[in-house]
């Protein structure tokens, strides 16, 4: 099953994002950023349903919470970056 990953530079921002998305009723979970999506090494991301991705991005922009990149992760493990 496909899902999305939103990356963040710091675990603090990832949790700010998590808090904002949950307040908006968007289900998400805090995870370690997969190594292949982490160009700078180590970090945390939010995992969420693909159908919630657009709303999540809008909410984060609206709340001024900086995030890195948004990916769709396919069942075969490949990731595709979104243009946000």
């Amino acid at each position: 099953m496909k899902y999305c990953i939103l990356t963040f530079r710091s675990v603090t921002f990832a949790q700010r994002g998590e808090s904002a998305l949950r307040k908006a009723g968007i289900d998400c979970s805090l995870i370690r950023t997969p190594k292949n999506l982490s160009s700078r090494g180590c970090g945390y991301s939010l995992r969420l349903k693909e159908r919630d991705a657009n709303e999540a991005v809008e909410r984060l922009h609206g709340d001024g919470i900086a995030f890195g990149k948004l990916y769709t992760v396919h069942p075969d493990g490949t990731a595709q970056e979104w243009q946000t």
Binding site: T12, R32, C42
Partner: protein, 367 residues
């Protein structure tokens, strides 16, 4: 024991603080490092505290940096703003946590305002020094020796007016008086976690209004590929493993403050200090009291201050005597030679504490 040394630390913590520390030790691994349950729980524990502190001190969670104590935060802030040999304005009531780092940097320290309980004098002198040129200002919110509440809002406004970056030492005010990063427009506000915020010893908070220079370097669990410290907060200032049980306890302390109300606690402490000062004066002691006083009162009696504190300790009264790590404040008040005996109230301040102190003083012939 009647505990009247809240200026040093809050000894009697709420039960919820003790419980939170124990829970964290049972449930938390290293925060911001792993993805398994105990690591995520630690990460969430730290963030919850950051979020609550941000709410209480009006800033964003990432502007809340956890430190080992207030001194640690002040050192980071001072090292960021003050360059060797540059002019720095401080109040006449600063603690060694401010004056020693400045001395170490060989800063050109200019002391402004020496009169106790006199905000007009503090402001006049402070502005005079700002006008003649200063690269930074550092000032305490409340004197740890005398409880004098400095006019920090006006001092902050003057700094902004003259374009001088500034640091507020909220060691004695956080948890008892309003402290807000955005309201003051401060570059940094440092506070201990273990005094008015009711957390365990070994905790502190530095609120950052600007990008700081790191004092320590190391792993942050972020951007590990780079050798430079991260350029974002709080990671820039938080290398190494955080004091998770301490931060969990601090969070419980902050929640206690939210429930009780900081204004209520401050009022209670100030009222206790006023009543205590009145009683000590009636006993014929030399008391340092005045308007603009927080929950701390200093006094002098017939005996050496340290001896008096020892006598009172034997009668179950815990308070502190001497210079209180603030020789500058004692110099300003004219008590550098004698020191003082200091009574400092906390969130549990009550008339019965003052009455017990009065009885002990009478019994031991200190009055």
């Amino acid at each position: 024991m009647i505990y009247l040394d809240y200026g040093a630390t809050s000894f009697h913590k709420p039960q919820s603080v003790r419980r939170a520390v124990q829970e964290a030790m049972l449930r938390c691994a290293n925060p911001g490092r792993g993805g398994y349950d105990a690591a995520i729980e630690a990460t969430r524990t730290v963030y919850r505290c950051r979020e609550t502190a941000a709410e209480l001190f009006s800033c964003q969670p990432e502007q809340v940096v956890f430190t080992a104590n207030c001194t640690h935060g002040l050192n980071i802030a001072i090292r960021t703003l003050v360059k060797p040999g540059k002019a720095v304005v401080i109040s006449g009531f600063e603690h060694n946590a401010v004056t020693r780092p400045l001395h170490g940097l060989k800063a050109d320290v200019r002391v402004a305002g020496r009169k106790l309980f006199d905000p007009a004098d503090t402001l006049e002198e402070f502005e005079k020094h700002l006008r003649t040129g200063a690269s930074a200002a550092v000032f305490t919110h409340v004197s740890n020796v005398f409880g004098y509440i400095l006019p920090v809002e006006e001092m902050a406004a003057l700094c902004r007016q003259y374009g001088v970056p500034f640091i507020v030492d909220a060691a004695q005010s956080a948890g008892a008086l309003p402290v807000g990063l955005s309201e003051l427009g401060a570059d940094f506000i440092a506070m201990p976690g273990h005094k008015g915020l009711l957390g365990p010893q070994g905790t502190g908070i530095l609120l950052c209004g600007r990008e700081p220079e790191p004092l320590m370097f190391g792993g942050t669990g972020s951007e590990s590929i780079r050798q430079e410290m991260p350029d974002f907060l709080p990671d820039r200032l938080e290398p190494g493993t955080q004091n998770v049980p301490g931060i969990a306890g601090l969070h419980a302390g902050l929640q206690f403050l939210k429930r009780t109300g900081i204004a209520n606690i401050g009022r209670r402490e100030q009222q206790a200090a006023r009543r205590c000062a009145g009683l000590l004066e009636r006993l014929g002691l030399q008391v340092f009291a005045g308007p603009h006083q927080a929950g701390t009162v200093s006094f002098l009696c017939r005996k050496d201050c340290e001896e008096a504190a020892q006598i009172l300790a034997r009668q179950g009264i815990a308070l502190r005597a001497g210079l209180h790590c603030a020789p500058l404040a004692h110099e300003s008040a004219g008590t550098l030679e004698t020191g003082t005996v200091r009574v400092s109230f906390g969130y549990d301040a009550s008339d019965s504490q003052t009455e017990a102190l009065g009885r002990a003083i009478r019994r031991s012939g200190l009055a």
